[in-house]
């Protein structure tokens, strides 16, 4: 008999297990299927830096959270409604994050003395009553998986590795999702390993049927498709979106794409993803080090390519000198910094927004460049296009800031039509008459004359240039002219960027000013605040240098300005310094994104019991 289906608006599920349990894979399969049925989603993987920490240990727990909803959502959810815990360590690490009365599906087979000890449990939480406030669903995942594979000729280890698909099958049943997409995915993934393919497909179906037949599960749930704007969608992570964004620019500008890069967490996927697109003429140069990554990109920019380099904080430090070279030679270059917890090696797999100072100021000399910060995984696509467009049209290096949260998180991207994308105007100089390397147009942009062009042979480099002519010049007055030219050129970018938009009243008591990846949590908090009758406005900064022209005016229109950021107040410090106004800081540096509730509580605190009107 079919079980009743209850409609929910919004659910957050977290899969957690050992870093070898395949939790990222399970989570991303659930995500893809959920996205395909039209539900809005936001995801957040959370995994340790160690590839395989000791099995069963607290340090080795890997998690993947997915938030899905029939309304428009912007975050991976504050607190899970459901936890799938593959072992005691996964339970212990994640329990504190769950909603009261949350559902916990546990693999009871893994709750043996050894694993309990590894998870530092004195008594078995499944038996000692400590989970009384939760809806615990015990499942013998390991045993059921092995039984389902009884007659298959696989090793016990190979059988055991399939158990994540049993859990996935249960979740598909529970949330009324089809299993076909994952079956098809397995088909292509294990084309050459028919045994493994058969095993995983069988286990997935067994998990699904287990939900249907067993009496442990009494109810199924469904989350209906979200009412998103019309169009064709795909699920996309921030790193994928960056890669696709730059390939798109290459198609749009007809410039070959060159990436010089060195692997670094959490940016490596950009290199990996772009290396797939050789049939688009994309050159990915996996360099010997971070410096060679950017230096090769500078060489490629000189030669007329759409040149980019990707990295994270430690790599950005190493690239500083070469960024100065790109500034001095006024070449188009995009440096993608996927921020992670710092300083030093810090928290490689965790998120932070603490590279803002480094992006803006981390070079010797007066070395201005353009800085753009993406706001969501899908926005990484558009931010990449903007970064490249500005770099190419202004002959200037641009730093694109994303972070671990955006890089690994995913959400639906409404795929734009090619014709709707911004045009990118690139003109190589070919005319010999009147050519000088540092001639400037009305925006102070110099010509791009690339090797191979007859008659325009010229030499540039890191030494100061004579204005217009580009020869080496040590003249004191000239140096100041050139310093100012480079600065003014960056400020001229203000002409092409939109004004800062205010969401809500344009004047009032409180403005929340956010930037980068905090967008989702802030926007949801603002919505909730308004539901509660609070009046609060919101503006989100995308252009970190130069700032939009109207920023000062916006700041002046509010009595209080609160800046939430995942650092000790870097944007706040800059705003205070430039605009000489008080800022209420809201900082978190735990390697984790803001929760919606945290931002909401801060808004209430700042309003001090008033409704902001």
């Amino acid at each position: 008999m079919a079980k009743p289906i209850q409609i929910l608006e919004d659910v957050t599920v977290r899969f957690a297990g050992d870093s070898g349990d395949g939790m990222q894979l399970t989570g991303s399969q659930f995500t893809d299927t959920t996205a395909m049925v039209g539900t809005d989603i936001g995801t957040l993987p959370d995994f340790p830096a160690e590839i395989r920490a000791p099995a069963g240990s607290l340090a080795g727990v890997s998690g993947f959270q997915i938030h899905f909803s029939s309304s428009d959502i912007q975050t991976p959810g504050d607190s899970p409604d459901v936890l799938v815990a593959m072992n005691p360590a996964a339970l212990k690490v994640n329990l504190k994050d769950l909603k009261p009365n949350a559902t916990i599906i546990v693999n009871t087979n893994s709750f043996d003395a050894k694993n309990l000890k590894l998870a530092q449990y004195d008594t078995n939480p499944l038996e000692d009553g400590s989970l009384a406030g939760y809806n615990v669903i015990p499942v013998e995942l390991t045993k059921l998986t092995t039984t389902a594979l009884d007659e298959l000729n696989l090793s016990p280890k190979e059988k055991d590795k399939c158990k994540n698909f049993f859990a996935l099958g249960i979740m598909y049943w529970m949330y009324n999702r089809p299993i076909e997409m994952t079956l098809a995915w397995l088909e292509s993934k294990f084309k050459k390993k028919p045994d493994i393919l058969e095993a995983n497909q069988r286990v997935l179906k067994a998990g699904f049927n287990y939900g249907e037949t067993t009496e442990i599960f009494t109810t199924r749930y469904d989350v209906q498709p979200a009412k998103l704007p019309k169009g064709i969608y795909r699920n996309i992570s921030g790193n994928e979106a960056v890669a696709l964004g730059f390939v798109t620019v290459s198609l749009r500008s007809k410039l070959p794409l060159f990436l010089g890069s060195y692997p670094i967490t959490p940016a490596s996927e950009i290199l990996q993803e772009l290396s797939k697109y050789k049939n688009y003429g994309v050159v990915t140069f996996q360099a010997e080090d971070e410096i060679a990554g950017i230096a090769s990109a500078v060489g490629a920019a000189f030669t007329g390519a759409l040149a980019i380099t990707s990295t994270s904080g430690p790599g950005l430090s190493l690239k500083a000198e070469a960024m100065g070279l790109a500034i001095m030679t006024e070449l188009p270059l995009v440096v993608i910094d996927v921020q992670r917890g710092g300083p030093s090696t810090g928290l490689p797999t965790k998120t932070e927004q603490a590279d803002l100072f480094q992006a803006l100021y981390g070079r010797h000399g007066e070395a201005p460049l353009v800085v753009i910060a993406a706001s969501s995984p899908a926005d990484c696509f558009f931010a990449s296009i903007e970064a490249a467009k500005i770099a190419l049209e202004f002959m200037v290096p641009v730093i694109l800031l994303t972070d671990g949260y955006l890089a690994f998180g995913s959400e639906p991207l409404k795929i734009p039509k090619f014709e709707e994308l911004p045009e990118i105007n690139v003109k190589f100089r070919t005319e010999i008459e009147g050519f000088y390397p540092y001639l400037r147009d009305e925006n102070l942009v110099r010509p791009w004359a690339i090797p191979g062009t007859p008659g325009l042979e010229h030499r540039i480099g890191g030494l100061e240039k004579k204005d217009v002519f580009g020869n080496i010049s040590y003249d004191p007055q000239n140096h100041e002219i050139m310093i100012n030219n480079r600065q003014k050129k960056v400020i001229n970018v203000q002409k092409v960027i939109p004004d800062l938009a205010v969401n809500g009243n344009e004047t009032g008591e409180l403005l929340v000013l956010s930037w980068g990846s905090t967008y989702g949590a802030v926007i949801e908090a603002i919505k909730l605040a308004r539901k509660e009758g609070l009046e609060v406005s919101h503006a989100h900064l995308r252009y970190m240098n130069p700032f939009p022209k109207n920023l000062e005016g916006v700041l002046k229109s509010f009595n209080k300005v609160m800046i939430p950021e995942l650092n000790l107040g870097q944007l706040a410090t800059i705003i205070k310094g430039i605009y000489l106004r008080e800022i209420i800081q809201f900082n978190k540096v735990q390697g984790q994104p803001f929760k919606v509730a945290e931002v909401l509580n801060k808004i209430k605190e700042v309003l001090g019991g008033n409704n902001g009107k």
């Binding site: 140069f285 090769s296 042979e457």
Partner: protein
Amino acid sequence: MANNINTVETEVKYTAKDFSSGIDVKWCPGCGDYSILAQVQRSSPDFGAKKEDIVWVSGIGCSSRFPYYMNTYGFHGIHGRAAAIATGVKLANPKLQVWVATGDGDMLSIGGNHFIHACRKNIDLKIVMFNNRIYGLTKGQYSPTSEKGKVTKSSPYGTVDWPFNAIKLATGSGATFVARSMDRDPKHLQEILSRAAKHKGVTFIEVLQNCPIFNDGAFFNLTEKETRADNVVYLEHAKPLVFGEKQNKGIKLDGLNPIIIDLEDGKHSVNDCLVHDETDDNPTRIFLMARFTDIPGYPTPVGVFRNYSKQTYDGDYVQQIEGLKQKMGVGTYDALMFSENTWEVK
């Protein structure tokens, strides 16, 4: 990847003057760099490329001012990074002929990593390293090729460092064209440069160069008439290793040990001498010869140590791209964006 470039033949007949940018050259009077510049300009017409298709890239140091004096495209980079920058130039447009001007400090110290990896990849860069065994631009500190015990401004009591042997390093890292020449041997240098221009793959030329200010005479025993014959053995392909005023000395191998023999002692003849094979893909003999400079009393080999052919990084890269375009079809926006599962919201 701009495809309007044709390097197959230079229809224009150039002269050395065509390669002079015409700006004042600002090395110290008597610097060996003047000669290197002159030899490059004289041999450039033989490089088989139009001047707009030649790019000179450099790092930092006296030698790295070189690109400014050449009437080609030029890029004066940052310290140590010339090979990395040049790699980007070459990969962005493999039809360009890309040269690197660098020094012993720039290439072997701060740029050591880029150097060994360029050699390893066998990317078609032509690296000309001016080796004066000293830091000139920073005014006289010892370099990674300075001899052990050298007294300099930063080693008043003598260095305790062992120097790099650049030929061994290049060979060990996989360079496919390895040569040594000298600022004060113009004809030889021109010949080596012209040969380097024609080689496909990483090309390394160590040019022994005099710094008259901070290390004057470092190579005079090799470059000056009176002493050259006894201290230099010129390497020529398929020829025995013979040197000396009257070509009266030779080098033979005793197992893996090189031995200097007297060709006039009645016991030895030229037939005993090691015969140079620059195309040998086994680098053992190259190492043996490169080591002469580490053994007191042995002549310094000058000429092409190694010149053999293997697939280049840039060549293979282009081939892979073209092959995949054929196999998968040239990429389109729709293929890019709709490659994953998509869904429609109506």
